[in-house]
Symmetry: C2
Subunit: 208 residues, 2 copies
């Protein structure tokens, strides 16, 4: 998409919007490019002009959902609240994220789609961005002398792995085809918050 | 097996031992009852007298591996060391367990076999036993006034979910067919230990 001009943006947005709904409802495998094109009254050839294949379009959808979350997070980070509160908000917003964005949420639960390299890449990419995000929060805390001078990389990876792990455990104990419901997300938010509280207690300075 | 007499025990042990090796090497799906019978020079009919099907035999193998671990854990619990040390030893022994017992370790990584109800039941059963075990350690700590009067059930589930979650995350980022190596287990033990340290800091009393 990088070589397309700026005036193509509304079209690209319309495609991504339609694809987002289709993928959310039917998953990657069961959605066709023809359906997406017809949803917005566009010819199939035009659609392929913007996105060479379904996987590239799916990746664009995932990146859109991730970007909105990351932007919300950066707004929160810039608000000047203390680092321990940032971490807690992150966990809450993260569990909300998966209720709002079906494609991000399904990324790890639909095993057929998960075998695709595109999903593995999207998962890995998002995980890395989350780790960076947590590192920023930890650095904020260290700068403000709220946190000890801990190994940021190590603790960020640990926190992101723990939060992701809690989701994976919950998936394991659900029927393969069942999606998460509100209670599941509330449970996850609660467990995640406990983890953050433990982490904060571990890393905060005496005077924090 | 419950209605078989005590003099059958050596035979049953031999069957389980042979099955343990076969399953560890080839997995549940790719092992046949004929191979197990032939490994110990037993007729197929005799094998079926002790175990009505392969799944029942696999369950017996899993229960054997779990039992050895749980016995080691109970010996450790009875040794009178302080509760926080018990928790740390549990995490270390748990990661060792998966290097020693291939069938328990593969239970969650072989997706073909995992679809079988027997695996789900074995996983769930072991998880519940681990939760009970952690509850005992937490109770030991509370009795010794080493830990606060926390909700044991809640914290036990959290710790077991976090440890299991760390393994699942690691599996996600491995090639589907690759088994864990020594470094993976060392990483897991290290991460698990960090989690226990955070937990202990959270729940210990002022005078502990």
């Amino acid at each position: 998409m990088s070589d397309k001009t700026k005036q193509d943006e509304p079209k690209v947005d319309a495609i991504i919007g339609a694809a987002q709904k289709r993928f959310a409802h039917y998953g990657l495998s069961k959605t066709t490019m023809t359906e997406i094109a017809s949803d917005i009254g566009m010819g199939k050839a035009s659609l392929y002009y913007y996105f060479p294949d379904k996987e590239t379009l799916f990746e664009a959808v995932i990146i859109k959902e991730q970007t909105i979350f990351l932007e919300e997070m950066h707004t929160m980070l810039a608000s000047g609240i203390e680092a321990s509160t940032q971490l807690k908000k992150y966990v809450k917003m993260r569990s909300l994220l998966f209720t709002k964005y079906a494609n991000l949420a399904n990324l790890r639960s639909d095993s057929t789609d998960n075998s695709k390299p595109i999903c593995a890449r999207a998962m890995e990419g998002f995980r890395n961005k989350e780790i960076e995000l947590v590192m920023t929060m930890l650095q904020n805390g260290i700068t403000a002398k709220e946190f000890k001078r801990i190994n940021k990389q190590e603790y960020s990876e640990l926190l992101v792995n723990l939060l992701l792990g809690l989701r994976l455990v919950k998936m394991k104990y659900k029927e393969a085809s069942t999606k998460f419901d509100v209670t599941d997300y509330e449970d996850l938010a609660k467990e995640g918050l406990k983890v953050v509280n433990m982490l904060v207690r571990e890393i905060q300075t005496e005077n924090a």
